[in-house]
Symmetry: C2
Subunit: 701 residues, 2 copies
Amino acid sequence: MFFYFMLIGRALFAADPLPSDGDDGYRLWLKYEPVTNAPVKAEYVRYTAFIGNASKGEVAQSASGELQKGLQSLIGKNISVTNAYAGKSGGIVLKLDANADQPEEGYRIQVLGGNLVVSSKTERGILYGTFALLRHMQMQQPLKGLNITSSPKVQYRMLNHWDNVDGTIERGYAGSSLWKWYELPERVDPRYEDYARANASLGINGTVLNNVNASARFMSQEYIVKVAAIAKVMRKYGIKTYLSVYFAAPKTLGGLSTSDPLDPQVRAWWKEKVAQIYKEIPDFGGFLVKANSEGEPGPQDYGRNHADGANMLAEAFKPYDGIVVWRAFVYKADPNADRFKAAYEEFVPLDGKFDPKVIVQVKNGPIDFQPLEPFSPLFGNMPKTPLGIEFQITQEYLGFATHAVYESPIFKECLESDTYVNGQGSTVARVVDGSLHGYARTLMAGVSNIGNARNWTGHPLAQANWYAFGRLSWDHQLSSEQIAREWTALTLTRNPKAAESIVSLMLRSREIYVDYNTPLGLSRPWMGVHFAPEPWQNKGSRPDWTAVYYHRADSAGLGFDRTASGSDALAQYRPQVQQQWNNPDKTPLPYLLWFHHVGWNKKLSTGKTLWEELCTRFYTGADSVLWMQKQWDLAKPSLDAQVYTDVAQRLKVQQREAIWWRDAWVLYLQTFTKQPLPAGFEPPKQTLEEVKKSVNIYLMK
Amino acid sequence: MFFYFMLIGRALFAADPLPSDGDDGYRLWLKYEPVTNAPVKAEYVRYTAFIGNASKGEVAQSASGELQKGLQSLIGKNISVTNAYAGKSGGIVLKLDANADQPEEGYRIQVLGGNLVVSSKTERGILYGTFALLRHMQMQQPLKGLNITSSPKVQYRMLNHWDNVDGTIERGYAGSSLWKWYELPERVDPRYEDYARANASLGINGTVLNNVNASARFMSQEYIVKVAAIAKVMRKYGIKTYLSVYFAAPKTLGGLSTSDPLDPQVRAWWKEKVAQIYKEIPDFGGFLVKANSEGEPGPQDYGRNHADGANMLAEAFKPYDGIVVWRAFVYKADPNADRFKAAYEEFVPLDGKFDPKVIVQVKNGPIDFQPLEPFSPLFGNMPKTPLGIEFQITQEYLGFATHAVYESPIFKECLESDTYVNGQGSTVARVVDGSLHGYARTLMAGVSNIGNARNWTGHPLAQANWYAFGRLSWDHQLSSEQIAREWTALTLTRNPKAAESIVSLMLRSREIYVDYNTPLGLSRPWMGVHFAPEPWQNKGSRPDWTAVYYHRADSAGLGFDRTASGSDALAQYRPQVQQQWNNPDKTPLPYLLWFHHVGWNKKLSTGKTLWEELCTRFYTGADSVLWMQKQWDLAKPSLDAQVYTDVAQRLKVQQREAIWWRDAWVLYLQTFTKQPLPAGFEPPKQTLEEVKKSVNIYLMK
């Protein structure tokens, strides 16, 4: 009945649509809009006689089903699936081929014997190839001479959900959790399947359902069967289900007197627990663990180390295919330490001590998902331990759902950073994809930005960040621009001029955000809420839980000296990297204050003093949001009205908040610089006290 | 573009629909399904020549716009709106008539001069009449001889949202808050308008946006402009916007040294604050206040009483139309007190002391929204103070979103209770609608069950509770059955047999829930989470924050003696009411344990002992969920597949949880009765310890 209503609403009430009309973003990049290019369509139609699929496996079935749906919408033809396609031509064949010259999940798409053939060694490969073909068609690309082969560079391509048992999401800005624990296992929300489709379309093959600040509930039989009901849906799309675990569960849930990883009873408890999980979820993916970090329990509570903890869990997985992903996000409370150095100090000594089933998951940067951050010095320094990389897709430090920040440049910048550990070209990407150290297991994880918002991500443009993460987890060599073009064409518009305008907005958005938020290598100007500017925040239960710890503003200058004269965190990098960053005169400006305490009047490479350059960036950044608005408006004629309005309104919020950031920084830093604004900049309309007051509103319960 | 996709999906993939297909519940009872009865349709078509609306007011515009949309879908005809309809016939005329013989918000619908005429003194009346006409047409009722007049019995018909600033909802089970504070005021979610339409269609004319455990943020200019953006949408549908206020805001937000309601500076602060709000929201509704209750600040912090607090706020509203709604939900920590008596004790002495702008809002029962509760003794005992009634629509104590409980019988039961204060017939309804004491202001409030779930309420059948509350707030004389029939026809199916089956399920659902949850007058068997059974819970920072406080099970018997030999709470009622409840032999069984401690082996009117009767109810209740499942299945052929499956799956959860409740009670009470189950009842498959363990899972962080 619903379609009827929509039809009526759209067709005849264009001038006065129901608010619920228009593109609500639910379909993401799987919209399958009808192909409008006539010659292209004619070419596609030549392969629509049948869909050949001889495999009864559920993943292959998902592939042929998706192809049916997609072509129905793209071409307007209902194509039947057959397993009796031998000798036939003019169709699309999904061909499982044990002898294919491809890695496990890889696929090949080519025109062969009058058919369009998607082949792979595995059903998953066929599914990925099918989605690639549909992407190709959605972008109205020709089929002639088609011969695409592709395989993933990274083995475990995962989303990490920081979703809590009560339905809230830590650092989530798109509504509440998709996972409805109270309704499971009996009720399986149809949305789970659309979630799986969207992820599979990008090549994502794993999902951790719950927050790393984990509840012990998930280790109970009650919750295991709930998880199993979700896993059943994921399985159809080649996605394995993982859980974050609470390290102290043997005590709190199991009733043991200890959770010491070397205690035989504890080891037995975990073994039994893992066996219990596999009984319900035969393809269970494994555990993700945040231990001895930010108050979470861990092996150090018993005088053991991270390897002891991880290896105990790995032992429990020995009979199974699952793995243990152990997070390296740790920083002890040490008032004299540089948090930058913490993970390296704790983990490098453990290199080689982890069980082969363990992957250590390292955040891209040494601190915590800052808008611009140097790569973590762990990359390259644990050659004997598979290191996975953890990116944050959700915009914890990127303006929540009210700022447009396309994150692919953040991901790429880290992946392309050269660690120099085996000479030039030893990029982080090559650490992560295993080619540098020959890792047996490789992993890329993204902290999800998905919630139950109708459009999944809150900000419509934030869908692009999920998309970019997924695409890069498959192939980190794709460029940010290419991904932006793809996503825009699939999601927003096929009009080339409009797309051009949107892509340029996207590609500059991160730089603009950094300019008004954390230019020149500033970091963590938030504390309470990771939303409002608080560079003045100087009270915390530990020094590194203040903002002043990070920027170190004083009457002389600004920035954190991490050279040999300071914390010497730079020493954790190879000499060639140190060289890039250890001389304030040569350090690229985006990294300057990450490594140096710089005098206010020091002349930078731009010819401006530090203070002048800072002001220029704050003001230019805030002004550039107006440019973003113009870019978006240029695309308006080619955009769905609801999507246009949604983003246009959010860009207005961003503009207001960018000025808030600019003013907060400028007025606060002036209390140190005692300098006026450089000529040409209009002073803030508000006082520092007024800005603080407006920030304090967001700190109220 | 969306409709195209839906069309394709529905029309051709019936066998393999996309998960997102089907009726997702978003349209609620405003589906406007095409009229299928040919003679009825022919009759309707005779009034589709035009829509006459001479009023330019935005509320009247909403009415004519809704009529256009509705008829477009019901009849398939695009009808234009005109103000030049004089002398024309064959149309629908919305007629603003200052001389109409109707109360302000009332309307009349009749066939007059060849037109279908909706007339009212006010635009709001016209809007309500329009929705009534559309309801009439959705139900395919004839127009011949139509002459409907209707006006609301209660003046303030409000939803109370317990929505927090962080997007969570206290006691919300349908996702996160609709109100997106971070995006406002620039971005206005289109859903706000659909929310307003749905409420206006029921006659709801006020909404309190935020939790009564209120954040001071809402009193900041920053948030006032956000609220104003929502109020602008509500205004179009005749809905006034209200805010819950944090009584200590003068201190925490205003920086004053006190929030004492008698302090001149505090009074001045609130006056200015209210003026500031009216500057942004000229039709602002007023404040809702939870003070000196469950840790919230209030006038008693300064030795003042509730009237002092409320009157101070009322004073600030003097220049405006707004009101102060002051909640009577209070219970001091007194280990010897009966919480049942608390609100009466605090409020009755204040009768007559409240400013005329104050309405005191009283929960339907003396404790807290229990599944079955006697009416609050405050009703009838404050003749000089307008008392509004507060119902809870969200299922805090009714199984969250996994149990189907149609609440109209709960609302009606309270409204029809006779207080006897002015002799027989002095019902709670007549207290609330003002007819008994001549209240100048009357109010009915419902704590909302709405969240950002696509279907608004989580459980599809919970939409009926929103609907029932709204309909009863307009006319409390409607029967539960009539409301259920209406809602079912509008929302689920017009098939009479299927509707019959669903309506019978709905009408029995509350009784069934009570049977397995709190039979014979038991209450509050939860503490930590208001979800899992915890009748054994006996530790709390105060006695009335334990479960055993309420049921008082011991080796002799069960129940709370509230007669003269006990807490004597009964004395707060009139003698005729006392008579109903003070004799355990004559007390109606649903109220028995509310007022009496009854011996395990006492014979009840059913011929069974208390223990036997309890067991019978626990078991019958749990078994009756199977009957509900059968009723639902009977309707299957007439239901949308997605809705059918959703409810069917939830009923399976309910069945499992009903057994959980049954077993928890039976096993726990056996530790006191030391008696076996009566013959014929199969003992629980689990031990009490096992049940406790399964409950404890839900108490884990």
